[in-house]
Symmetry: C3
Subunit: 140 residues, 3 copies
């Protein structure tokens, strides 16, 4: 039984949905020590989120961005929290809809994902800057 | 401290929300070995998801399907990812809204759920086929 | 390696989004025993949920309530599950959109959150009463 925890500072991404599986794995060689376990990936922000979805066709990520802009539009007349800009409150709403963490099964030193599954950074601010993750591994 | 991980292949379900608590438990007798712990249930797909909700009245599941078809409609004019059919991109969106995994507390060899909580398979494709879960148990 | 699990009965909250980080921590002194680990917070209900978001400006929580009432309105003509009142089916939908649990990294005896992150109880019923959480800690 081993516990491992580290912080990962991601590259800066523009607003939208981005595939970051490789960027995480490059900073997480320790996953190879786990035959079976769980990986918990947590984003320490309230206006960006993590999701797991299609890793092949980039149009899926574009459609996600377009559709979430409909689900949480910038111009809702009942928004009060607007002083940080029109992209701020929609960002908070998208963040709770999508969620702040992923828990992934680990098997034989790898994320035990389906063929088409990849990790998305969902950047909801126009200028979110570099986002910080906390990754926790546990298993044997 | 024990780790246990297994893959479960579900029956094939039509599009909609389905109660699968019993189907999972029938394939997971190992949960009885855990006095306290966590169960992680993960779906290895990008167009189906897992949720936890009302286990009694089936009209809740019907209303869920009807409402998610409004939240992620088939005919959004800005969808680019359409070549796999009109049900494909809405399925990806529903999957990230609902999520790909559940983490449940385990107590005395059972899921420690509320009285009305049951596990839903949310099948978002018209013909999704049999879906694969990875279940990881950890505890003591 | 230590496992700890306890049930926490929250105060009663009105419909809306409420910051409960402090209320949870006051009932969870055991977290100080964990140098590194995970905290799993689970709500045993199908019409209330947990989320992680902005802990400072309360207008964020008001905007959340207003926007989720648009995403899951009370008067959808296709709702069949209506006999428990107009707030019931929207509550179930909000619960699956937001989710029934949070998994948080633990570091040095505390939740390892970002500066602006706080735990929300999302109460979706007009009169939800006191809600029950199951908190599971694991780590070393």
């Amino acid at each position: 039984m081993n516990w491992f925890q580290k912080e990962i500072l991601l590259s800066s991404y523009p607003r939208g949905f981005h595939l970051i599986t490789r960027e995480i794995l490059e900073q997480l060689p320790e996953i190879r020590n786990y035959r079976v376990g769980l990986a918990h990936i947590f984003i320490q922000h309230t206006s960006a989120s993590l999701a797991l979805n299609e890793n092949a066709d980039p149009t899926v990520r574009g459609d996600m961005e377009r559709h979430f802009n409909v689900l949480a539009p910038e111009d809702a007349p009942y928004f009060v929290h607007t002083y940080e800009g029109p992209d701020d409150m929609p960002a908070h709403i998208k963040a709770v809809l999508l969620g702040n963490s992923l828990t992934l099964p680990v098997k034989d030193g790898r994320f035990h994902l389906g063929t088409w599954q990849g990790i998305y950074l969902c950047e909801h601010r126009d200028r979110g800057g570099r986002r910080r993750l906390v990754v926790t591994l546990t298993g044997e």
